[in-house]
Structure formats: structure tokens, C-alpha cells
């Protein structure tokens, strides 16, 4: 890609030249989002990066406005949310956009992550890009969790109790850390106040890491469904209009679904118990986190037995956090030289089983922890770990990949049936775009 990195920006006006010599910001924007070359075979799975940026902006905008009407005090918080819903002009809309926006943010990030796993987007030279993405995902989870506490309903309170309880599993210093997090012996007013402060801060940290993520992306360039590197200029198209329009179309479709949920089923993804004000003396009959945490929650609950010196509580917490740590290690766990699952028949099979496994864990996380469910969750957790720690490293060594195309252009033309008579060389001719 580096061959195409030279700037092609030429300011057209006198003011443009004057500005460019003093601070080349328009040049940066032009080179990053107009002339920037993207592989010509990107499919709609690649549009979720843009959708995620849009969701971050939506969440920050609605969040800033909601904070103007919200009171971060355990005596007032629940009522202030109802005040937003009933009294504030369009408060109901802003709040539903914000609360469902979190869910849609996670829908998009899961598509984005699974797309990366399918097309091997984490492989050299994109390891840092992948790790930055994992950091964004962690920040998103922290932000979402703290945001869910703010309405001060029953699920807010007990979710906060359970999740801060994870830290009390750490030997020796666990209780101290938990008290440091919640500022007391139980979740209360100090907890709500600091969560509000951090919930306001973290999205801006996410925005910062997103800048790094996009920077790293623009150094290495996008992957593409074939996993073959860009070799000639003919393998790419300029970001504008091709990617801008494709991303824009995907955003519109995504927003249509988002709007349907906001206007017709705004509480579908939430939990009814969160419309009951927090009560420290009564736990709801079942505590479930928001849907996007359910697979991890299932793994936490799957460990009901002690393993040597590790008790069941610490074991569950380790298995849960470990499942996310594994994501950071993926670039080195996958030993295959072939990026894309399209050319890896066995990896493709296990990828889909893995996807089903995660969905199954999510379903189990929503079920009560009795009967057959913990056992199934344990099986699911074992497969989750085996996928990363056994299948990924071994498959790369023993699997025979299918034949890769020589170039992106060749694979595109093959798909079109015989190529239409344009040899790769011709497509690689110098661009004559004005």
C-alpha cells in the first residue's frame, strides 16, 4: 500500500494554498477519506467500521443532551430519568435513541469483530490495528456497564453489585479493590456519582483510540475478502465516491432497523425490572445483564467447582476475563499464512461453529442457572477456549488451503464469469481520473 501513499491533494484556490502551507488539515482529510485507495472487492461486511463511527457520534450527542436533564444522585436518579421520559421535550426520543443506541453499537461491533475473524484481518501487518480494536471493545463494555447503572433501577443496582463483585474474587486485595471501586461497603450514592463521571469520560477515550485505530488502518490498508494484498493500483478504487457511498448506504439501512426498534419496540432489548427503583434489600428474582454481555455471563456461571487452589468464584471470573484476553492474542494464535476463511475450508467450518457457540452461550446466559443450563454453558465455554487455544494454532499447521487468486482484480473478474476480457495488466494502467 505504501506505494500509493503519496499525497495527490492540490488546493484549487489561493486560500486553499495559503491554508495548506500553514496547516495541511484539508490535505489530511483528502488523503484519508477522498483519494485513499480501498480494495475494489470490499463487501458490506466492511461497512461496519463506518457504522460504528456513526454510532459513537450518536451516543455522544444524545448522551451530552441527556446529561443536561439527569441527576446523578441515588435519591433523584430514577425520578430524573422518568422526568426525561415524561416532561422534557423529546426526552423520550433522546433517551430511547441513547439506550437502544448502546445495543446497536454492540450489534455493529460484533459484526465488525466476526468479520475480522472470518477474513483474518488481525494477521501481519495488522496486529496493532486488531489490538487497538480490542481496547475499544473493552472501553465500550466499561462505558455500557456504567451507563446501565445510571437509571438506578433494580437491574442497574444489582448489575453493579454483581460486576463490581468480580473484583472481590482477586486474592488478598480483592475486597479493597471492590471498596475502592464502589466507594463504600455496598453499591450506593458514591458509586452512582463516579460511574456518571466515568460514563461521560470514557466515550471520549474511545474516540481517541478510534483515531489510533483508523491511523493504523490507513498505514496497513484494508484487508479484503480474498485476503490477498493489494498489488497494483487497479486492485483499488478511491475511497470517494466508492466507499463513501457504500458505507452511506449501509448506514441508512442500519438506521432504518434502529429507527424501527426506537419507535415500535423501544424496551424490547431492555429488562422490565429496570423500571423498578433500586432496592438494596431485595434482589430481583433473576439478574441478567444486557444482551451483549450474556455470552461472558454464561461462562462466568459455568464454573461452579473449585480447581485446586482456585475457588469457583475466582475460577468463573478468570474464565470470563480470559475469554476477552484471548481476543488480544488472536494474531499470534492463528498460525495460518492464509488470511481469508474463503480459502480455508476447515477454518471456515470451525468459524461458523464458533459463531453458533457464542450465540448459544448468549442464550444460556439469559436462562436461570439451574438444571441442564450450567452444564451446557460449561461445554460452550470449553469450545470457546478450544477454538482459540487448540483449533486456531493447529489448523494453521495441518490445513491445506484452497488456491489463492493471484490478485484482487483476478478474483473479481473470475466472479464476473470469465473476466470480460480485461487482463489484470490493463486494469493496472495508470489512473486517468481528473
Amino acid at each position: 500500500m505504501s506505494g500509493f501513499q503519496h499525497s495527490t491533494y492540490t488546493p484549487k484556490t489561493g486560500f486553499g494554498r495559503w491554508f495548506d502551507q500553514r496547516m495541511p488539515l484539508p490535505r489530511l482529510v483528502y488523503d484519508s477519506f477522498v483519494a485513499y485507495p480501498v480494495p475494489r472487492n470490499l463487501n458490506y461486511a466492511y461497512t461496519f467500521g463506518g457504522i460504528l463511527s456513526m454510532m459513537l457520534v450518536i451516543q455522544i450527542l444524545t448522551g451530552i443532551v441527556l446529561a443536561m436533564h439527569y441527576a446523578a444522585n441515588s435519591g433523584l436518579a430514577f425520578d430524573s430519568v422518568e422526568h426525561i421520559m415524561r416532561d422534557v421535550n423529546f426526552g423520550w426520543l433522546l433517551r430511547y435513541v441513547h439506550s437502544n443506541g448502546a445495543s446497536f453499537f454492540f450489534i455493529a461491533v460484533y459484526v465488525h469483530i466476526f468479520r475480522g475473524l472470518y477474513y483474518g484481518s488481525y494477521k501481519a501487518p495488522r496486529e496493532l490495528l486488531w489490538i487497538l480494536g480490542c481496547i475499544i471493545y473493552l472501553l465500550m463494555m466499561a462505558t455500557a456497564f456504567m451507563g446501565y447503572v445510571l437509571p438506578w433501577g433494580q437491574m442497574s443496582f444489582w448489575g453493579a453489585t454483581v460486576i463490581t463483585g468480580f473484583f472481590s474474587a482477586i486474592p488478598l486485595v480483592g475486597d479493597w479493590i471492590q471498596q475502592l471501586l464502589i466507594g463504600g461497603f455496598a453499591v450506593g450514592d458514591p458509586t452512582l456519582n463516579r460511574f456518571f463521571s466515568l460514563h461521560y469520560l470514557l466515550p471520549f477515550m474511545i474516540a481517541g483510540v478510534v483515531v489510533l485505530h483508523v491511523w493504523a488502518l490507513h498505514v496497513a490498508g484494508q484487508t479484503n475478502p480474498t485476503g490477498v494484498d493489494v498489488k497494483t493500483k487497479g486492485d483499488t478504487v478511491p475511497f470517494s465516491p466508492h466507499a463513501t457511498v457504500k458505507d452511506g448506504f449501509a448506514m441508512v439501512v442500519f438506521l432504518l432497523v434502529f429507527a424501527y426498534v426506537i419507535f415500535y419496540i423501544p424496551d424490547y432489548l431492555g429488562h422490565a425490572d429496570n423500571y423498578v427503583e433500586a432496592n438494596p434489600l431485595k434482589t430481583p428474582s433473576e439478574i441478567v445483564p444486557e444482551w451483549y454481555f450474556l455470552p461472558f455471563y454464561a461462562m462466568l456461571r459455568a464454573i461452579t467447582f473449585n480447581v485446586g487452589p482456585i475457588n469457583s468464584k475466582l475460577g468463573g471470573v478468570l474464565v470470563m476475563f480470559g475469554s476477552i484476553v484471548l481476543l488480544f492474542l488472536v494474531p499470534w494464535l492463528d498460525t495460518s499464512k492464509v488470511r481469508s476463511a474463503v480459502y480455508r475450508p476447515w477454518y471456515k467450518l470451525f468459524f461458523w461453529i464458533f459463531l453458533v457457540d457464542v450465540v448459544m452461550l448468549g442464550w444460556l446466559g439469559s436462562k436461570p442457572p439451574q438444571g441442564i443450563y450450567p452444564t451446557l454453558a460449561l461445554i460452550g465455554a470449553i469450545f470457546y477456549y478450544a477454538f482459540f487455544l487448540v483449533i486456531m494454532p493447529i489448523l494453521g499447521l495441518i490445513e491445506t488451503p484452497r488456491k489463492l487468486p493471484n490478485s484482487i482484480t483476478e478474483s473479481v473478474l473470475e466472479k464476473k464469469g470469465g473476466g470480460g476480457g480485461v487482463p489484470a495488466r490493463a486494469a493496472a494502467a495508470p489512473e486517468t481520473r481528473s
Binding site: W158, V162, G183, G184, A186, L281, T283, S285, P374
Partner: protein, 185 residues
């Protein structure tokens, strides 16, 4: 030339002195930022709670709030006590009494889960030792407590028997000041 470079000069001294002052300064400024997160004076100023239990007949319980947490005061029935007494220590997941009124290594016999002379009364922080939910009383396979969050089951002495919780529920410091009055904390 090289000997000259090794010889420390004024600039080296300033380098190190500035660096050290920076490290010490950063650390001393960091501590207030961390320490402010800890439970504050108003949270720590926990008065002990006095509870009137004259109305609690066998088979009844009372829940009071202490340190922001529910404490159950249960007058156990003879059947419940008998069930708890018959459990062998080897069957327990956590063989330690977790009773603040006793040494920290006391075994988790039924008597050790109470105070001497008031064995029928179980006074216990009703918070699951797994992740802090409030278990439901007189539920579950052992007739004690059942935690709806992650399925931990406790017996009639509040000892963990099954599920992910690692420890028996905690017994706070408490004292019967009279036949009908308990002071917790």
C-alpha cells in the same frame, strides 16, 4: 573524549535531580486521586444497630440494614437446627465458620455459626459470597438460602453447600444485650 563523557557534570546532576523530583511529585499527587475513591468518612462512621427481636418467634426472621447491607436475624426452628447439626464438616464446601465473634479458623459447625447460649438465633449478613446478591430465605435444596443470581445454595446455618459461591455467609459481630435485644456491629 570518552573519559570526559563518563565524568558526571552539572547537567547530569540536574537531569537526575529533575527526574527524581518528577517521579516523587507524580506519585504524591497520584495518591490523593486514588484515595478519594475509598469509602469516605460518612460511610465509615457506621453506628451499630440495635434490634428488638421480641416479636420474632421460631421460624420467623427479621431483616435489618447494617452498613448498607441486609442482616437477617432468624429464630430457627428445632428442625432447622437439627438438620444443620447433622451435617458432617467433610461435606461442607467451606469448613471455616466465618464468624466474626470467633477466631478466624473456627470450624463451621452449627454451634460456631451462632454465639454461645443463643444457638437458635442465626444473625448473618444475608449477602451471597459469590457476587453480592441477596439470597432468598427458606428456599433451595437445603431449606436455607438460595441465590437467584447464580444458583448458590446455602443450608439452614447459612453455609454454602452447592453452586459457585466460595464461602459461608458472613456472621457479623453481635451481642444479645438482653433476651429480646441484639446489637449488631
Amino acid at each position: 573524549m570518552s573519559a570526559e563523557a563518563i565524568e558526571p557534570n552539572r547537567r547530569d546532576f540536574l537531569y537526575i535531580a529533575t527526574g527524581m523530583a518528577g517521579v516523587v511529585g507524580a506519585a504524591s499527587v497520584a495518591w490523593p486521586f486514588i484515595d478519594q475513591m475509598q469509602p469516605d468518612a460518612s460511610t465509615l462512621a457506621l453506628a451499630s444497630v440495635e434490634v428488638d427481636v421480641s416479636s420474632v418467634t421460631p421460624g420467623m426472621s427479621l431483616i435489618v440494614k447494617w452498613r448498607g447491607k441486609p442482616v437477617v436475624v432468624r429464630n430457627r426452628t428445632p428442625k432447622e437446627m437439627k438438620e444443620a447439626e447433622e451435617v458432617k464438616l467433610s461435606e461442607l464446601k467451606d469448613p471455616i465458620a466465618r464468624n466474626d465473634n470467633l477466631p478466624s479458623d473456627a470450624p463451621a459447625t452449627d454451634a460456631n455459626r451462632t454465639v454461645k447460649g443463643q444457638e437458635a438465633w442465626l444473625v448473618m449478613v444475608q449477602v451471597c459470597t459469590h457476587l453480592g446478591c441477596i439470597p432468598l430465605g427458606q428456599e433451595g435444596e437445603f431449606g436455607g438460602w438460595f441465590c437467584p443470581c447464580h444458583g448458590s445454595q446455602y443450608d439452614t446455618a447459612g453455609r454454602i453447600r452447592k453452586g459457585p459461591a466460595p464461602e459461608n455467609m458472613a456472621i457479623p459481630k453481635y451481642k444479645f444485650t438482653s433476651k429480646t435485644s441484639v446489637t449488631i456491629g
